[in-house]
Subunit: 205 residues, 2 copies
């Protein structure tokens, strides 16, 4: 009964796309609703009718980030060797972070101040870590890893991966540092630390 809506799904995708570009070009600070609306040839109202506000727009970016991230994690080829698989997953994690560093910031380092993901988004985020837990649970069941709660190992692996990647992204690593090589060596050493002593054949070099 009224004028035809132009704030439709197509505009929603366009806005998400431009928002990603803005954030990739100049960081999360540069994501302004006014600039975004101007870039997309609409008004700030569009963001409110399509998303609800800036936090909800960021939440959509958060979800999109975890979608891509989850795809990379799920697409990692696993061999059944716990150590090698953990290193492979960690490399996929890093590759995902380097591919979309600003999305990574939104997802893991709260780079947009005041933003908190909603419950659905957080559930999706947790699901992407399932491959990690599967590997660890199996390694413990098979007696390859020591018998500790799987969450402990999972959080440890997640911690070192997340830590190294965020140090790399924030430029906190020393100059001339062999990131890729050291990254894999560190992941291998970390995973090896959970091996059962008698099964231990670690060689972190």
């Amino acid at each position: 009964m009224a004028r035809p809506r132009t704030h439709d799904e197509a505009l929603r995708l366009k806005l998400l796309d431009r928002a990603g570009e803005l954030i990739a070009a100049d960081g999360p600070k540069a994501l302004s609703l006014r600039k975004l609306a101007a870039d997309a040839g609409t008004s700030t109202t569009a963001v409110y009718s399509l998303f609800g506000g800036k936090p909800d727009l960021v939440n959509a970016l958060y979800t999109e980030g975890f979608r891509r991230f989850g795809a990379r994690m799920a697409g990692t080829v696993l061999t059944g060797d716990a150590i090698g698989d953990l290193v492979a997953l960690g490399s996929a994690y890093r590759a995902s972070a380097l591919a979309d560093p600003n999305l990574y910031g939104i997802m893991f380092t709260r780079s947009v101040p005041g933003f908190e993901p909603n419950e659905d988004a957080e559930k999706l985020a947790r699901k992407t870590l399932e491959p990690l837990e599967r590997i660890i649970r199996r390694a413990i069941a098979d007696g390859v890893f020591v018998d500790v709660p799987p969450e402990t190992v999972a959080v440890g692996c997640w911690g070192i991966v997340h830590g190294l990647v965020s140090l790399e992204l924030t430029g906190n690593l020393p100059e001339g540092f062999d990131v890729t090589g050291s990254y894999e060596a560190a992941l291998r050493a970390n995973a090896s630390g959970w091996l059962r002593p008698q099964a231990n054949g670690n060689d972190p070099s």
Copy 2:
């Protein structure tokens, strides 16, 4: 030849103090120059004459954070046992982060958008990690750790510590998770992964 200055060292310290309180109470987003000036009974001009602007004020907080952090690190009692010492340093790191979580955010997770520490501040930051490198260098020299570049081990240790702490601070850890226990176990396992195979007697439980 003019009116006596009230924008002096005392006010500088008062502003730093209030800024810390504001940021601790409601996060980095809530640090506004107007609120800060009002709280301190002065005007926004004070921040500009004493610091130079908001980024420089944040830089001062960054430096203060690393001062406290460095003191905790340097004050950690070391025994000469590489694994135990690395765990102890990691616990000091976590204690420092939990004591001043918002300073930690400024220091390590770029929680104030657009802020980059200046060169002096970054040099100070690097110095606080010296105890870590000393332990590792010695463990490698003594043949306790495998013979890899010390930076590789140091970055790995820093990575897991930083990763676990920021996951904890951002609330990304599962509920009901035994943080303290798992934290130390994960650090121990991680450090054990660098032991030379023949010297290996790891027990991360």
